[in-house]
Symmetry: C2
């Protein structure tokens, strides 16, 4: 693309007719057919409303962490998070919420000691390869809308820790966390956590309600004064809300020609602003498109 | 490391004496000798004070963008930014500030059309290789405290766009920006900008003053209402401040055994929390340590 773009610049300089505008990733999303999108099932949408009026919506990934996701659904239905807060916000890292320092009993349906759902078998996943090298795993790509790291040779796969990923807080191993405390990534992808902790999904709406919170001044970003904790009004599964009140979202199917074009342009930005396309892209810089449905 | 850590867990389970704690990246920094650190020259420190009392300190990189950095020093000395604001904050991307839509004349010493300082020659840089693959360039590593992408074969190098990197806003090429408008990265490393725009440094203190700002609701995160713009009280070079008022910072010399150990542990987290070290690390996830001097 480089020589074409040098020609483009020269053409502009000599006042020639402007060349055809090259597509941006957003253009590709805007022009995509409806058939390239998949609706997120209501039973996979966790809706967290803050007391300050902000809403954060999380898409859960039962295909990667089924027991932890089942726990989260049971915790939401059992109203476990009543009175809970966002109590930790660490700069360039995570925001964390839930029942911290609580001995509240588990609601029905919660598995108190889930298995370590940090990887799964590659079998059963339809992978679209990233096509660029990855520093953290032998292979990287996308499966059913999720960014995944994997080993084609060893047969495992895991959700990658990208901006907005949601995971389960845990103590030292052998603890695997229950789901009662969750975190969302609000900084540069902390991929070192991959395969060390259960990822259960990603924030699909309202991430700025977390990323703009004041950073905690205690070690690891915990708020020093509990009065700084941000109260959570409710956490519900969309499937438990009245149909008329349910929010709905769809994501770009990563197994489509549209996503392949989007991925190609993400790795080769060649619209007007760019001079030198990289010819590669990082897994977490692809950002699978998700949008709200009317 | 994997089997050692499984032994560690087993030892804890059966109540044996706790094994020696393995070092974290922070431990390595805490135990580092004073000789492993380099003081940032006062003429490379840009001190931005917001009207709300917040301070943001930027380390400039004259070895990568000498003309743009000279411009920034001249703009600060010429009080060019008086009355300017932070006017753009885009979620998971950048915060941008300066004289936007201004026809204020350039102070003495400003080069209105700098060269495109998007890459430099590799020659003269002492590189510590990352040791992991990079999706954006043939090679990656560290030079004089900076994360750099480079081509050993072709002989070029560039500063990498990581969290907290500071660059120069520009219009479409052939514009290269002057330095009158600057941005800082407040999201996942937007490495696609590498070699397409002049990076001039990084925020070394106060990044949370930018990352917690409300996101702009116009396209590209511009604030819709100018009343939302965040007023800047002053931007000064530390070298132009009275000695008693100058802040001072030092960074971990990337050409030391301490940094080599830090890099190794960043790629192989094996402290108590981790179960599976990745065996690799992304360039922007290494985060060269910088700290304030007394």
């Amino acid at each position: 693309m480089r020589s074409l773009l040098l020609v483009t610049s020269a053409a502009l300089l000599i006042g020639a007719a402007p060349p055809k505008k090259l597509l941006t990733p957003n253009d590709i999303v805007a022009q995509s057919p409806a058939s390239a999108w998949k609706t997120i099932p209501a039973e996979d949408l966790m809706v967290m409303d803050l007391a300050n009026g902000g809403r954060i919506v999380v898409q859960l990934a039962p295909e990667f962490a089924p027991v932890h996701v089942a726990n989260i659904r049971a915790l939401a239905r059992g109203n476990y998070w009543q009175g809970s807060t966002i109590y930790r916000v660490q700069e360039n890292y995570v925001a964390q919420w839930g029942q911290n320092e609580s001995d509240k009993p588990w609601p029905a349906g919660v598995t108190p000691k889930p298995p370590a759902e940090y990887t799964r078998t590659l079998k059963g996943l339809k992978i679209t390869p990233l096509g660029s090298p990855d520093a953290y795993a032998p292979n990287a790509g996308f499966a059913d809308g999720w960014p995944v790291a994997y080993s084609a040779k060893e047969g495992w796969a895991d959700l990658a820790h990208c901006y907005s990923s949601v995971g389960v807080g845990r103590d030292l191993s052998p603890d695997t966390g229950t789901g009662g405390e969750l975190y969302a990534v609000i900084g540069n992808a902390p991929r070192q956590l991959d395969r060390n902790i259960a990822l259960v999904g990603r924030v699909v709406d309202g991430i700025d309600r977390l990323s703009t919170l004041p950073r905690g001044t205690e070690a690891l970003g915990f708020y020093k004064d509990k009065a700084q904790n941000v109260p959570i009004a409710s956490i519900k599964m969309a499937s438990d809300m009245p149909t008329s009140e349910r929010p709905s979202y769809e994501y770009l199917n990563t197994d489509t020609a549209t996503f392949a074009a989007y991925l190609r342009v993400r790795a080769n930005r060649h619209d007007d602003f760019y001079i030198r396309p990289a010819g590669g892209v990082d897994l977490c810089n692809v950002q699978v498109p998700v949008r709200k449905k009317a």
